[in-house]
Each structure stands twice: as C-alpha cells, then as structure tokens.
Amino acid sequence: MICDMPRRNPGRERPQRRKELFHADAFRCVGCRLDVPMLAPGTAHRNHCPNCLTSLHVDHRIPGDRRAECRGRMTALSVSVRGDGEWLIIHSCQSCGGLSANRIAGDDNALALLRIAMRPLSDTRLPVSALLAL
C-alpha cells in the first residue's frame, strides 16, 4: 500500500503543522546522534550534548527563546570562565558564524571540556614561550 501509492502532493493547500520539538523530554544530538534527556543536573536549559558538546542554533539572545531561524550546527570553540568561577562553552555556528556562550551542565563530558580548555596550551606556537618565561 505504502510503496505502490504515488506521493500525493496537495499543492500546499495547508502548511505542515509546526512540530513541538522542544517540549519533548529528549533530543537527538546533531553531532554524535546520542539521545539526550532534557533533564540536566545543574541547569534548567540543556542546550548542548553532554557527550560531544555540540549544540544547535535555535536561541537568539535569551536562553530558551527559540527565536533563531538559523538552526545550524554549533560546535564548541573555546572555554571561558565567569567571575564566579563557572565555566562557559563558547559555541560557534557552522552555518552563520554566530557565537554564543552557554554554561556547562553537571554531566558534561569532562574529557571533551578539558581538551578544549587545553587547546591553547598544547599549541607549539609563540605564546607558550611567554608562559615558560614567567
């Protein structure tokens, strides 16, 4: 039945229903395809995969506003530290180049976080010589 029937194209009589994707209790990571529960320890908004730290460009300014129309993949670019000592991941959108800062969650992959934090220091270029000179 399914394979025999030609696909009916109703000529856009009615636009597709907008799916309530983000009210689900889980999402699938665009980077590693892990099924991630929305419930995260230490944060109300989970906005990146705890395994590979990849995010999706859905929020515009305010976390959770879902006003960005880009929906590109955002990869972790660097780690920043807030005044209170909390780590932030700087995500950069692969599609539009936008940046956003997101707090880490309690179950984020510590090894992945540390690899990003170590990136400037494992570089063999000039600035490391400044550290050794101290």
Binding site: L77, S78, E86, W87, I90, L113, P127
Partner: protein, 115 residues
C-alpha cells in the same frame, strides 16, 4: 605611495585611544592588519549597531588552522565577537586567559593525570 593611493606615511599614522587603558594605539598593526583591540589590555569597542560600548576579552580560541582568536563580549548588549590576535598583543594577558579555565576547574583534574 601605498596601493590605495595615499602616501604611506599618512596611511599608517591613524590612531585610536583605548577605551579601557587610554593607550594611543596605531590603527594598523606592524604586520599590516587592521587592529580591533588594544594590544596592551586587549579590550575593544563594539562598533556594530551604534552600540559603542566596551568589549571585554573573555576567552582564547584556537582554530583548526592554528590561529588564535580573542573572544570579546560587549558589556552593554552582550554580543560575542571573535577576532584574530596581533603579533604585538600582550602575551601575558593572552596566556592568563588561556590558563584561567585550568586554574578554576569544575571537576578535579587529578583523574586526568593518568591519561
């Protein structure tokens, strides 16, 4: 004469005062690139959308090409920008930003000693 038709001496004397430390900075770096942050304190000015507020350096990112970028955040509107570092940027501040996450880890780093 430089390529844009101006005498080289005129084209290279443009300066701007740093919004934080007040240093008078040449707008063109020695390597010919145009500056967007102070080489001494790495602070910048948010020029987009008439915001014109101070931008703080918050992080260092290393691109796949190995190039270092400074991530700035605007103190007024919170927008993030990334800019390549200059050859004469303050290495002490660059290094301080690079090691800051490791100085305040959210998890014990001892577990990674074996790796």
């Amino acid at each position: 004469m430089s390529t844009d038709g101006k005498p080289r001496s005129l084209a290279n004397t443009e300066t701007f005062p740093c919004v934080r430390c007040g240093l008078t900075v040449a707008a063109v770096a020695p390597d010919g690139a145009r500056r967007n942050h102070c080489p001494s304190c790495l602070h910048s000015l948010h020029l987009r959308d008439e915001c014109r507020s101070r931008m703080l350096p918050i992080s260092i990112a290393v691109l796949r090409t190995g190039e270092w970028m400074v991530i700035h955040r605007c103190t007024r509107c919170g927008e993030l920008t990334s800019n390549p570092i200059c050859g004469d940027d303050n290495q002490l501040i660059l290094m301080r930003m690079a090691v800051r996450p490791l100085a305040q880890p959210p998890f014990p780093l001892e577990a990674f000693g074996d790796l």
